[in-house]
Symmetry: C2
């Protein structure tokens, strides 16, 4: 008799909830305690897990301890440890006790705040926290609810991109007078812009041939040239196309480059382009006064997004999007099904966030960001950013002192792009170096190719990374380089 | 001195993590213990929260206890309590200890499994769990990795809809030979289909005028008529349009209607439409053999989705999407940026889930669904579904015994649509009844309008709902009706 009746099967009994959840907390704390012991990049082979797990779901319930044992034995070996202090690849995904705290509350309450009445606190806290965050970044009031704009939490930059692209598209199609003009709309970005914008533009129906990837180079530090942008726009206009949207980036993924917002903004205004600023990574850094200047010119943008889930101690997932004219987002994304009609929505006195995003359902993510900000305070959040930048500066200096290496592009944030100076006959030298580092299990790094040059990216900033980890990384790099150069 | 140095500011220290997290667990367990004491629908007024919270983020860190006190005093009064056993509105959002367990692991590891190497376990467990889930639903092997298809976890049905619509669109545009044909593509659904499909079709660039909402009626129990579908398709073809996509639903939101999949599938095949099945709500029920027949004909579909976060004890968010030809999804959504290139992806021996979804980043949601299935087992998951259906049957019988009321559409799952029989002069009688129930704070219900008739929806199935809650609801409804009819 395995199937229980409703009286004995209580899947949310508070006492069991408390006991079992605490056992899981101990398990996770133990994971953090030991995370440095695992190879940072998983060493499993493709298909490893299907050999360890049954082909079908179990009929009978299984005990908590059996599941946790399987997590230890089957899952952890297959993780690439993003929380390891020796993770230096991509951009990091900061976990923190506060982020986890907020995530637990979100999952515990498990409300679905699609409109105001479905949980007023979820909507209102989100609006308040977006204003808090916007003020920390010194965004103009035109992006804040306390001003004339507003903000929303999405799960990812791509989701934000899809939504602002759809808003820009629908505004343009309305002005142009027909949906068939969709094939005339053009989106601009640089060849360093996150590829998610190209994907998002195609998703909203912009022909892929109308996406302009404007070339960048070493001469501008891989930032987008306003002159080149203007040249391409004018060319498109001559061809009868309609310039729609420009994405500028603060802190590109390959090299941390910063596009010149103020100058690009002028071009965007001249040609009536929707200017979006993608500050997914480096936006968090701009809470520090000494880095805020990278956002200068933001007042010219139509929208801006950044991801607290990268560098802001906020567990996955959390992307802030601010927009100057929320009405355009709502015009494009709103739905008014009978089943959700209610007096609060009818009054227009409330925000219904379902009309600011792709999905209907939504988690109470604002709790997480709110807890992160309060538990750390601006003071410690700046300390976190500055500490990572200090470590990156030190790493940059170490690389600079070793004449076998070179810094490839100037560092702006906590990402250092460097390489072993190659000789002609060693084209894949740096690729081999990354592979040697990663296969050691002692660190995990990734790469980029800039104007044809393979560079190693050292992205510093996991929550647990401390100075000695960076020093050990440098020692590891030197050792592996030594072996390669022998 | 509030700002700490990196040596003393340790935002992921394991001991602090454990202590603070356990305090939050106690807080949440206490919430579940007391959830029945709160008014189910929040009684706050718009703007209540901004009067209680500061306008800007704090500079100094704040203690855990202060934040939890504010959650009690400021947030909980603004929640509409989706975990209350007296929540009967919309469709429910099942939380469970196991779902929370999985969510904690996901948030604790905080890996970003966009491709295989970024965490092989995240990818592989997802594929395995989608096969488990597909087998529980007795999906044909053409939807399973162990067969010729595959599955992926999204956050919502709308995200799944956007992805399959984009895949269908891009396949059609390729065949038609040019992006300008996007204005010819037509999407079909019934007037009971979830509005998210209309939003998704517009998002991917299908002209809103090309979305066909085919009327349903009492005569077919609000299911989509294959004859009417064929009529509309033939009309579109005569107008030079290109039929693209059909969404059929198992368990519609307004009334729980079921579209005749097998017959619709034949029409879809005849006209080469992409057939998607939206089983967001009722899909969970189809793990019970006695309900599986509603999925008969699924072998004719191109894709199917359902949401474990509704009725499957899985905390938000979790949507399963299966597709027969994953290649079409990947063709439409794939990106190949240099920065993510790696040997495993190049080998084509692995799944890179970033190419199966909108965003690049993704949480390890598979852990949650895996834990839910194992911790409960098929046995208890079926018990959960059957218990809810038994309660709905009983509620239906109670309504049927009271001659002042009527059941408006036959019940199929755990949703009962009923109303007070109105007299001519009392047009908004049932609307008033819902408002009286909701404003009592003792239950929360929602409504639908079916062929012009306002019906009250009683959706039974929060994790904590037991028979006595349903009996109390019926007593409350009778009392409020009595007052209204006096």
């Amino acid at each position: 008799m395995v199937s229980a009746s409703r009286k004995t099967f209580l899947p949310l009994d508070p006492v069991t909830f408390s006991n079992e959840s605490k056992a899981v907390i101990d398990f996770i704390a133990d994971y953090y305690e030991n995370v440095e012991k695992y190879p940072v990049q998983s060493t499993v082979e493709p298909g490893y897990l299907s050999a360890m797990l049954p082909e079908s779901a179990p009929y009978c319930p299984e005990p908590l301890q059996d599941i946790l044992e399987d997590v230890s034995n089957c899952i952890i070996p297959g993780l690439t440890h993003w929380q390891s202090p020796n993770f230096f690849a991509y951009f990091h995904a900061n976990a923190s006790t506060a982020g986890f705290f907020g995530e637990m509350l979100c999952s515990g309450f498990n409300v679905v705040g699609f409109n105001w009445i479905s949980s007023p606190a979820a909507t209102e806290l989100e609006s308040i926290v977006l204003d808090w965050m916007g003020k920390m970044l010194k965004l103009p009031s035109s992006f804040l609810f306390s001003g004339t704009g507003g903000g929303v939490l999405h799960g990812s930059t791509c989701e934000a991109a899809v939504c602002v692209l759809a808003a820009a598209r629908d505004k343009a199609l309305k002005e142009l007078g027909g949906w068939e003009n969709i094939t005339k709309l053009v989106v601009y970005a640089s060849d360093q812009t996150h590829f998610t914008f190209q994907k998002a533009a195609k998703l909203v129906g912009i022909p892929p041939s109308n996406f302009r990837l404007i070339e960048t180079s070493f001469s501008t530090g891989f930032s987008l040239s306003p002159e080149n942008l203007r040249f391409v726009i004018e060319d498109d206009i001559r061809s009868g196309l309609v310039p729609l949207f420009l994405c500028a980036t603060i802190g590109t993924t390959p090299s941390g480059a910063v596009d010149p917002i103020a100058e690009l903004g002028k071009v965007a205004m001249e040609f009536k382009l929707w200017l979006h600023i993608d500050a997914a990574y480096a936006g968090s850094g701009c809470i520090c006064p000494e880095l805020r200047h990278y956002l200068d010119g933001v007042e010219l943008a139509n929208s801006i997004s950044m991801n607290p889930h990268k560098w802001f101690l906020t567990n996955m997932d959390c992307c802030c999007l601010w927009i100057k004219e929320p009405k355009l987002l709502v015009d494009s994304l709103s739905t008014d099904p009978e089943i959700l009609r209610n007096n609060a929505s009818k009054s227009k006195a409330v925000v219904d966030y379902k009309d600011w995003q792709i999905a209907l359902s939504r988690r109470f993510r604002a709790l997480k960001l709110w807890v992160v900000i309060r538990r750390h305070g601006l003071a410690n959040l700046m300390c976190h950013i500055r500490s990572d930048i200090a470590m990156a500066k030190r790493f940059e200096a170490l690389v600079g002192e070793d004449e076998r290496f070179e810094i490839v592009v100037p560092r702006k944030f906590a990402l250092v792009c460097f390489r072993l100076k190659p000789k002609v006959e060693e084209e894949d030298l740096n690729c081999k170096l990354v592979e040697a580092i990663n296969s050691s299990g002692r660190a995990f790094m990734s790469h980029a190719v800039l104007s044809g040059i393979y560079v190693i990216r050292c992205a510093i900033g996991t929550t647990l990374t401390q100075q000695h980890h960076v020093d050990a990384l440098w020692k590891l790099i030197q050792d592996k380089a030594q072996s390669l150069l022998m």
